[in-house]
Amino acid sequence: MNSIDATIAEKGLMSSEMGSERTLYPYVTGTSVIGIKYKDGILMAADMGGSYGSTLRYKSVERLKPIGKHSLIGASGEISDFQEILRYLDELILYDNMWDDGNSLGPKEVHNYLTRVMYNRRNKFNPLWNSLVLGGVKNGQKYLGTVSMIGVHFEDNHIATGFGNHLARPILRKEWHENLSFEDGVKLLEKCMRVLLYRDRSAVNKLQIAKITEEGVTISQPYSLKTFWGFSAFQNPTKGAEGSW
């Protein structure tokens, strides 16, 4: 099971990057997003950094946004592509609203829409360079799903993108349970975000936590986590590493 004909197709289509009008690599990126189900709905967390390669270019990028009445989206990856996705979703919700029939799209429908958009763009070899997390509550049903830039999608009780998949999900698998209260949910997310802050170099200590329940969406003001750098091993990091300066 090798990567088959695509390699041939790619060579033919993408041999010259000059003048290409498709995304070959991302420019400004956001790092991990974490989402969990809790007792009354969904909680999501993301920091506010926007990286330009390894440069921290932007420091207050909002990566958690409400979509319609029942959904919440969180994005990692290319920020400009995310903003384009937000425009698609705005139009989707607007046109749905114009029916004025009392019906509205729930998180499941929005997630399905995003799934098709992402997969369609990958079929055109012009991906939207994001991993998206979609959460929401409608008719008492909690929903939490994700889509990647090539259209891989699934639902779960807890989800994390990028580095979060390595560092946060093991914590979530151990500590998550169905009946988390809001306070415990926030504590769990903060624990994950703190680990990411210490170990993910593109994470910054300025984050937002968003909540969505039957009552609607609330996104917190930006705040930072308490950190501790006073471990004795940190005081003289080159001690014992001979030849290091």
């Binding site: 004909d5 695509a6 993408m14 690599y25 997969y119 990958r122 090539i150 891989v152 999608h153």
Partner: protein
């Protein structure tokens, strides 16, 4: 500046997973694990790879999840049209041909999907169809596809010893096992494959198709 410091983007991924199907005289067992992974990461431990396409026809698929889902959607849509035009459910052999055509339609940008189709044929006998990614297929008595198939196939060959397809007159490929023996065999081969295949595990989903309906069964497996 001109030096590539990043791997080229690929429209494909391998999300792993193993599928098995066994045909009996009056039943068909279709099974797959529920792990979905990418590289060394596990994305989720509870993703069903088995899709019901018609009353007596199920498809188990591994490979690239987004392609698999697109394929399932195409087949479901085609089946809905078929129902409106013919006022009946599509038969398993008909669905098998449709699946082959659907895969070959994308011969030069293939669905990265490895399928086994299982169900009952028009006589009510168990049937299994096995495929490659571009649509070549064959009716067999049993089959396995996906990341653990290399570990499972020789065991099935050894246990089920289907008659050679070269025999004349042609012999039936259905296995002589009883339903419960087939289900136990499936559990055994998965329990073994999961020991060595890192892309399979977590949970086993077994579906048994018989004339009177469909039965589902789950078995927890290794989560490491």
């Amino acid at each position: 500046m001109g030096i590539k410091q990043q791997a080229n983007w690929s429209p494909y991924d391998n999300n792993g997973g193993t599928c098995v199907a066994i045909a009996g005289v009056d039943y068909c067992v279709i099974a797959a694990d529920t792990r979905m992974s990418t590289g060394y990461n596990i994305l989720t431990r509870d993703y069903s790879k088995i899709c019901k396409l018609a009353d007596k026809c199920l498809m188990a698929s591994s490979g690239f999840q987004a392609d698999v889902k697109a394929l399932q959607k195409v087949l479901s849509a085609r089946h809905l049209i078929y129902q409106h035009q013919h006022n009946k459910q599509m038969s398993c052999p008909a669905m098998a041909q449709l699946l082959s055509n659907t895969l070959y339609y994308k011969r030069f940008f293939p669905y990265y999907a490895f399928n086994v189709l299982g169900g009952l044929d028009n006589e009510g006998k168990g049937c299994v169809f096995t495929y490659d990614a571009v649509g070549s297929y064959e009716r067999v008595g049993y089959s396995t596809q996906g990341s653990g198939s290399t570990l499972i196939m020789p065991v099935l060959d050894n246990k089920l010893k289907s008659p050679s397809p070269l025999l004349l007159p042609a012999k039936d490929a259905v296995t002589p096992l009883s339903e419960s023996e087939a289900v136990d065999l499936v559990k055994d081969v998965f329990a073994s494959a999961v020991e060595r295949d890192i892309y399979s595990g977590d949970k086993l989903e077994i579906v048994v198709v018989k004339a009177d309906g469909i039965r589902r069964e789950y078995l927890e497996m290794r989560k490491d």
